[in-house]
Amino acid sequence: MITVSLIIFLIVAVITLGSALMVVTARNLVHAALWLVVALFGVAILFGLLQAGFLAVVQVVIYIGAIVILIIFAIMLTQRNALEIGSRFNENWGWALGISALVFAALVWAIVSWPGFHVQAQPLDARFDSVAELGKALVASNGYALPFELASVLLLAALIGAIVIAWERKPEER
């Protein structure tokens, strides 16, 4: 049965996969990073189609808004002059393709063989507020309170790490 959401899904899926392919084949690193924006935006729309609106927002805010920016910064920090890095393939690409195809086939088989795969999931109730449920689960002591607090410790450790590794020493202290 062809529905509107199915058509949207197919279009978005093709765009996402195509731009993901461009990310790994583009010869210019900045172009690859920009294709990544398209791919990540496609994933955000897929989240939206799955009624996970919050994850769609996270995808845009964190991945497109912050991580791609960091990637572009990293490119500008490291590349000396030309951004053309030539072919992305080395002599092992055939092997990599074979193994990836094998793993992909195995995963597809595993998922399709599962009976639940063929059952259409019921759409969520219109009154179901996933963001509010997430908020409650995040702080519930028998829910995800500990992972939530641990996330902030993790972020702190990452922050210290970034400063330890990348902080420029002041000349007078050198």
Binding site: L146, L154, A157, V164
Partner: protein, 493 residues
């Protein structure tokens, strides 16, 4: 509600204390008077910082000891403070303390002393301890990240030394990749059972309402992700370069801490959640253990650099510990499996720290003094250090009556009880192969002439002698340790 929260917090109190102590120490270190001697790059370190870090670890250890025998669980079954986690936590905290002792003068000598180093060490330890308590795959992942991220930074703390940066980058890139595998595995298990909690997974498996292909795929990916951390073949590629490039004290901590935490998580997840699938998983573990022992030991023969040699030795020992996991699902054997793995982890920790303490004592600035030939004449010039190294090498080999031998004995016994004669045979044969390169170190130290220079730093020497005495003492009194290890069973809900 409040009582519920208090029980939950009580369950992970040692980690809370350690992590908060690290946060406070980070701020305190900013305002402490700095010792400019240990700095060449504008970095500096207050002599009080390591002491405060050690105090925090001791406090945490005291809390763990005070609660031995009182299993508690918290956060709706997400965290489990049982005999198993107490055992692992104490081993980890002891490793942390030894690492502080190894690092203190070493970092100053190399001009890379920084207060943040000890804070990162404490964060990494918190992650490792949480990992030994996690009874939920989400927590396994988060604690893996918390233990890894500080380790990546610590491996690169000798920046701008290229080898250290290379070590950090390799460890980070492959580690991030491995984390991806772990998350994917967790995702598949979640898809198969509808939960990440081990308790729920067991319930779903018993009800039979799950997808076998997905759960096996998930288990395979979880082995991959955690196998990377404990350096089993074929996920070991990063190990030699990361171990060689990282500052030696960091390598010592990395090899003991990450291995202990990784195996703790593997044991808890597989013994608790996946015993029903052992018919499919055991052959895979069998193959990985055999491959790791063979490749680790044979590759170590060719090494001339002592850090690389110990790196391959670390891979080989991951293979030996992996053996304990092979019969994890057989009736009545899972307790033996856990006990022999824990025993060997302790044996490995003590032996490894003894060896690394000697390496650190002999290391000269600019990564000199790390070749095997630099150890020539050590037996005559520094007999005490040479004796420490000899004890470590004998224990690594598994020569009776050392601790390594007792550990391997229990491992082989567990494997044989499980009926895997071939694997035990591979273990014995590769141990014989390993004698070749371990004993070569002893031969070089005692039979060849040379003028090695060793540092006389009080803390470093204390750690070297302490670890070696620990190895000897535990070899003689191995029964109580095995008793403790066998008491440290996994508590299921």
């Amino acid at each position: 509600m409040i009582g519920d929260i208090m029980t939950s917090l009580w369950a992970i109190l040692p980690v809370i204390v350690l992590a908060l102590w690290a946060c406070v120490l980070l701020l305190v270190d900013l305002w402490l008077p700095k010792d400019q001697q240990g700095s060449q790059q504008g970095e500096s370190n207050s002599p009080i910082t390591p002491l405060l870090a050690a105090l925090g670890m001791l406090t945490s250890a005291a809390i763990v000891i005070a609660r031995i025998g009182q299993p508690t669980m918290g956060f709706g079954g997400m965290m489990m403070a049982d005999g198993f986690s107490h055992f692992i936590c104490l081993l980890l905290l002891a490793s942390g303390l030894v690492t502080i002792g190894l690092s203190h003068d070493y970092m100053k000598r190399l001009g890379i002393a920084r207060g943040e180093y000890y804070v990162l060490l404490m964060f990494s330890l918190s992650g490792m301890m949480l990992m030994s308590m996690s009874a939920d795959l989400i927590m396994v992942f988060l604690s893996l990240e918390l233990l890894s991220i500080p380790l990546y930074v610590m491996a690169g703390i000798a920046t701008p030394r290229p080898s250290s940066e290379e070590a950090a980058l390799k460890y980070f890139l492959l580690g991030a990749f491995a984390s991806g595998f772990l998350v994917y595995g967790i995702g598949l298990v979640f898809g198969a059972t509808g939960s990440t909690s081990l308790q729920q997974i067991v319930a779903v498996v018993q009800s039979g309402n799950y997808n076998l292909a997905l759960i096996l795929g998930g288990a395979a990916l979880i082995i991959t992700g955690l196998g990377f951390k404990v350096a089993i073949v074929p996920f070991h590629m990063w190990t030699p370069d990361a171990y060689q490039g990282a500052p030696s004290a960091v390598t010592a901590f990395m090899s003991v801490g990450a291995k202990t935490a990784g195996f703790a998580a593997l044991l808890r997840v597989f013994v608790l959640a996946f015993p029903a699938f052992s018919a499919d998983i055991t052959p895979v573990l069998w193959g990985l253990a055999a491959l790791t022992m063979v490749l680790g030991n044979f590759a170590a023969i060719a090494q001339r650099n002592i850090k690389r040699l110990l790196a391959y030795s670390s891979i080989a020992h991951a293979g030996y510990i992996m053996m304990a996991l092979v019969p994890y699902g057989q009736d009545g054997l899972s307790a033996d499996s856990v006990a022999s793995a824990l025993f060997y982890l302790v044996a490995y920790a003590f032996t490894n720290f003894a060896a690394w303490a000697v390496v650190i004592a002999l290391e000269q600035a600019g990564e000199k003094g790390l070749e095997l030939q630099d150890y020539a004449g050590l037996g005559r010039k520094h007999p005490a250090l040479a004796a420490v190294m000899a004890v470590a090498m004998l224990s690594f080999t598994g020569v009776p009556p050392t601790l390594g031998f007792v550990g391997k004995f229990y491992l082989f016994r567990t494997v044989l009880e499980g009926g895997h004669v071939g694997l035990a045979l591979i273990g014995v044969l590769t141990s014989l192969v390993s004698a070749f390169y371990y004993l070569r170190v002893i031969v070089v130290m005692y039979m060849q002439e040379g003028e090695p220079e060793a540092r006389r730093e009080p803390w470093l020497q204390a750690m070297a002698y302490g670890s070696a005495i620990g190895v000897v003492a535990l070899s003689i009194f191995s029964a109580p340790l095995l008793f403790l290890a066998s008491q440290a069973v996994l508590k299921l809900f």
